[in-house]
Symmetry: D3
């Protein structure tokens, strides 16, 4: 670790194994191998657009761990904050992902128990980093994985906040990891530290017990806590392979609700990670331009683009995403082919 | 062979060779290799849902024959009723299948002449099995392949009937195998033995010379013959890659016409075998629950699902098909991703 | 070279390298390798339909050059007019092609500078061929590549014209190769020699400075120059994977504007080369039947079909294209599967 | 479960994931997916040669479990004795296998902790099966995995013995699973029940503390325990891709040491499972012919052949293995190609 | 057909389907697709070295037939002498080829019965071609396939001889096609027409009943018949993947026995077609240089090289084969890498 | 750029495109895509073993340039010293690599002319880096590519030397890039700056005109110039797939000739880059331990290991290379499989 980072995130990185498109997990003979995990996906998106990011995680010191680290570097994410699990007892969590086809839904089979990340402890984290980033990001998945992960993550949030970083948090509720009650209680514990909150409408209503207009719900978080921005995506699933996508951002500092027309008829090749890509685009907008308007533009474009790319990670560049924003805004060159 | 079977079918199993999706048969450099055949597909669907099935067929005792047997076992179908062709003169029939793309239709090139199955004779079939199944199924394809196949199949229908099995028959008319006149004459010969009849509307009208309302046509078979159920699928081909699918069942015992709303905008990856999957679902409904209502539900879901799966065979499970039925009935969990 | 040809074209043939569908050029680990180039694509289409064609081009005498020649023969195009570049300094131009997914557009990255074709000179072409073809075809790409290519091509147009061939020219304007001004000036220089002109509506308006009704624009070329046919395609891009396609042909000899209903909802697997396929179909119509009506039918069908086939080249046959025309005209057999 | 079996084995079946040959685990982008496990491999080899076998194991009721079951059926092994783990907490153990190239050794990375098989308990096994097989086989791996596995396996050995089965045991010592002391103690506990013992020379010397001539060591087991046959393989590793292979069998009933010339210069494509294939061949010899001579012949041929086949399982047939034995014995047809 | 040919051959061309290297035919999921057949292989080798060749054969007018024709053109072989089988009853014969690994031999499974080629008749051959080639080649396989093939081939030999061509014949005895007696009788019938004879030592001894020194045997054919050259290859199979290869040519016109040191330790990737490649090299030597010495050099190099190339066909060029000959003769550049 | 580096190298990085193993460049349908180049390979080897390295190079700012940068990061090499070529005129050089099989040699086809690297100029290099590395490495290839490259590289050597770095130089003579005379003259110009020299025996004799004992030749460089170490590899090519490998190092400071027994019977999967891997291992030994003995050990092991790994880059780790050294020294665990 050397320079300062624009973003440090913290979370589990998994080994993602997928049948080739159109094949079934129970019968395919090969698996495509990638790395994935919500917080890596966010760090990767930010890095692809040109900022400096890293992920705090823990991986076994074996070939699978090496593969995950290579995947991080591939995505331009610094791997120097990865903690080696040399215990011989750890593992890299796996998730198997089968693509869907109407009416057969995409399917995830998890094999993530007993992962090395579950044993991460605060004293494994180099304290020097707490003052070396402009923003720290984590998600509800990290809080949900285990008591140990939760304690470590909450402690990290506090230390980064003290170190001067803004805190970004994506609720990302997963019913298969914890109950709504437990999630709500935990999340309320860290809301006082959060500057940028990502939460879905459904989670606001079901888990957080909010009701009424969505905009009012979004505002309510900024009244109750010192949150600057609340971001909620809006996805319309026309079929597993065709979505519309946009988002709403409530900018508490300006007191403005920001939105734009959805990207429509998105050709969904792989929807995993599109929520994380949205977060990365929005954080890029905040970090680079400091405005909700830019966060909205980059968030929507990144969230949209990810759907068209295989794997958890967006694999894009600033010129490409700029072109997509321009096309969406009607400022493109109108061609049907980029030459 | 040991236990009793829920279903025994009889038919040719072919070596199915396909270019990778989007490639052309005349130029591709690899072929994907599978087993397929109407009666195997039916037996496989029933087995995947949990019943015990087998296929009476004949295969050369070479590596291709071994591959077909493995494919049967893979699909949970018992391969102990397969008759070995040790003549050194037999072969496994082949069909080449090229996927379509509007306006280019999917395409089948047959190389099935002189197959070992064409030489199957009744005395090669172990007579013990005639009393060991709850249901026997075959199709018009088996009757069409050769005089020898026809005689053997008709004899088998009679023996299984005598042995106490219900008889299921799928007309499955193929103009490239026989004429409508010949087909009509042969099928009328076996209709007196049939309990469950699968026939398309087009075949009813063109080959069987029926006219008027579809429901009336379906009823007519049950008036003329001691048939309990007549099943007719309804497929709307919006494009080679997008279909709607449902069916109508006439339950002569209850005197009821059964139908449900179609599965719509099905993402068609491979339509081959979806008619057979329908038959398998319907027969599962009959065998497991004894009702036309369940036959309709399982038939439609299996026929639909098959379109989304590569190969002739559905590759599913009872939990998956149940989830698809529930989603179709509005009883699903509403998620866009199975976790 | 032996017999007479129906068509000789002249142009660069490139090494086309594509990621597998759905993968990204910057991250994929394999590339699919093909040959492509506008004038080859035209010659190939004509040859697949049964006429005799060849391409005048120049290739290095190495393994990549051999691969391109094999690809020509594969497409039934005679490779005997290829000039070997034995200088040791030449190369085969490359273009990388990444498939798109809404809203991500398909993308071409060119690496075609310094190709052997750029050094082709008129005296390398066997003069005997100028009298051995019924039609000579080239495109604006050939004119744009370099001063040398331009001079050689214009000289070839004149020699073939003198030798008795009809001249076909596809404007095919590429903004990344030359300016509109330069293109206009050059094209006006060869228009007096042209019998069949392919030009897009956009190019007519922007580059050639035409305005008013499309039909009037098309007619104007035939008034100003001794052109017999002007052909303009009409493509509606609903999404990168769904287009409509048709064309208009102005037949100056008959004074008729020819058109037909578009092929709609085309399943676009690979749109590269569909314009060239249109040209090949139209030229087949002209060469085989001598009528604009047939040119329209074959042009539209070939242009449409190409979209459904991977690579630059149509890979079809006369029976297939005839079936597609019949289906479009409502004369097909109505089946959803070709058996 | 219906008929009697010739062989029932008990052990863990793992998900085997390998890079394509020549690629490295830490950098490859696809993994080839198979099932493997010592006791499955033995059951599969016996089944391929024509006997009836099954494996007692425990698998999660998810898609990976389904894949393993399919792989069993593919290998002709009955999957009806598999116990479903519906706890939602289980998993299928994984091993990653990278092929070697001199001087880089083949490499296994295990991720097998917390597998469903570890929770198998004796009362999950249908007691009816204890009298339904001619032979029961397990290995030291099963004893080593956990205390629970050990207790269950030892209990099973006793019950099958009481039920009338012969007991076969392969010591198969794995230093990464348990210590030599613990292994020795446990194995001595079950030696009194064993009829056929497979043990390597190295294990006899290091773990069992034997010394002197190998033949004397082998005899010693049959003096100390009521063991009928002791089998020890002899492999010479010339390079990762070239081995010699044979074995010695001590037949205590006949008082004879049996051996034959090694298969030499074996083209080793995948050495995993060749020890298990040897066991399967030897057990086939014992079960089918009841002689050590046949056990030696089939064991050596199966152990040899497996090295030339990808995956854990031999994938052969009785005609093929017979041909290989005949060739080795100088009774082949001398051709270099099987037509 | 236009120009004169250097070589015309006549024989069946098959669809060759192989598992990927190291996989087994009975379990693989893809097949690699190529064209192959002894007489095509010879024509292809000659064409790759720069001469003009064609094959008289008969193929169904379907996509498989088209694929075979493309493969011919790919190999630079003219496909204009192919006779279309439009009967709808024909097929392209298939052979499945599994690569070997010591001690598992390579394996061929034939499915070639009922091929269109079997119905070829003399009156389907354009009589103009009998005077348009310098050499006609066929093999014992063509004579063995059927009575019809035999009659047609013998008639063709006579007509080409009358037309002025030299006749080349490769005995290529296949025990699975005909008996030694029948072969001997047939071959003796055509020996009077043959100029260049290819026959293995084993066939000379077993089928032709010759004994004594090989050189004497070779000479005997030229005494009994007006044969100019007799060629016999010498292959030492060290393992399926390592051979030595050379040949002996008896030049009756010069009365000389020609031989050279074998190519040794050949890395055998695919041995199918190496005998045919030898024939093609020898015929190239005869046709281009008219000497047995050159025939020996090119024959040995082509036969050797083919072993290192996948598929039936050599895929080489004159510069490459020249380099291999020079290296073998000690005139190479000594580098271990061609740059 | 932030921290200090252990090694900075300078050179061209190419796009390496290879047919799958066993396929031919002129006929294959896919290419495997990697990055390669002598100086990258050296930097990568050093980084894999744990030191910090970077490469000064120049790449176009397009998707191919991005791919090369990803490949650098994958190999743990810092990509922050890469200079972007935004001219729109640059390209990434390509080399095509076909694997060999005795007697067919491996083959390289270059398409590297006009690469962006050729336009690198000294003023594009951030001058801050000249004092930020312990060692600078380049090779004769960089000097040979163009006059511009030569000037830039020589200037860089001088600046790094002034900045305090040791200079390492690999002569790596390529006859297809420059003449021996030109090379000799240029290399003599930079020898005064070099601390560690890598030169082959053949180059010493032919290009540098040395004669006599190899050890004496090696010493001569250290007498004539202030060179500390001279390293010469010794490779015995038994076949394209089997080599022996070792090296000799002359340590001028200690006045000692260092050598060890060769690694023998190396299973050569891909020999490209093994010389560079040797350099990287030796430099690791010098940088980490400061001794010729360690340089010899790590150099030989890395050079050996690379042969067994696909691509230009070794893809290893310190634990793996240590294990290989220990096995070679007879200190390994004797197992044939790493578990």
């Amino acid at each position: 670790m050397s320079d300062n980072f624009d973003l440090i995130s913290m979370g589990e990185i998994m080994h993602r194994l997928s049948p080739p498109i159109n094949e079934r997990l129970a019968s395919c003979t090969t698996l495509v191998k990638r790395a994935g995990g919500s917080e890596l996906n966010v760090a990767a998106g930010v890095a692809e657009l040109g900022l400096k990011s890293a992920v705090i995680t823990k991986l076994p010191s074996d070939d699978i761990g090496s593969f995950i680290r290579s995947s991080m570097r591939n995505a331009k994410v610094d791997d120097s904050l990865v903690i080696d699990d040399n215990s011989g007892l750890g593992r890299t969590g796996i998730y198997y992902y089968e693509y869907g086809a109407t009416p057969r839904k995409p399917k995830v089979v998890y094999d993530r128990r007993h992962a090395s990340f579950n044993t991460i402890s605060e004293n494994e984290i180099n304290p020097a980093i707490f003052t070396k980033t402009r923003l720290f990001h984590t998600s509800g998945i990290t809080l949900a994985l285990s008591k140990n992960n939760r304690d470590t993550a909450i402690e990290a949030v506090k230390k980064f906040k003290s170190g001067g970083a803004k805190i970004s948090f994506d609720v990302n509720y997963r019913a298969n990891l914890w109950s709504e009650e437990e999630a709500k209680k935990t999340i309320e514990e860290i809301l006082p530290y959060i500057d940028i909150l990502f939460i879905s409408e459904e989670t606001s209503r079901r888990m957080m017990g909010k009701s009424g207009e969505l905009e009012e719900i979004m505002k309510s978080y900024t009244r109750d806590y010192p949150i600057s921005y609340v971001c909620t995506t809006r996805r319309t699933v026309k079929s597993p392979k065709c979505h519309d996508f946009t988002s709403i951002i409530y900018d508490a500092r300006e007191g403005k609700v920001l939105s734009e027309a959805p990207y429509s008829d998105i050709d969904v090749i792989d929807r995993i990670g599109s929520g994380d890509a949205y977060v990365s685009g929005a954080l890029y907008g905040f970090l680079k331009y400091g405005t909700g308007e830019k966060a909205l533009k980059f968030g929507n474009a990144m969230g949209t683009l990810k759907n068209t790319v295989l794997g958890d990670i967006t694999e894009t560049s600033l010129p490409e995403i700029t072109k997509i924003i321009n096309d969406h805004d009607g400022n493109g060159d109108g061609s049907e082919l980029s030459r």
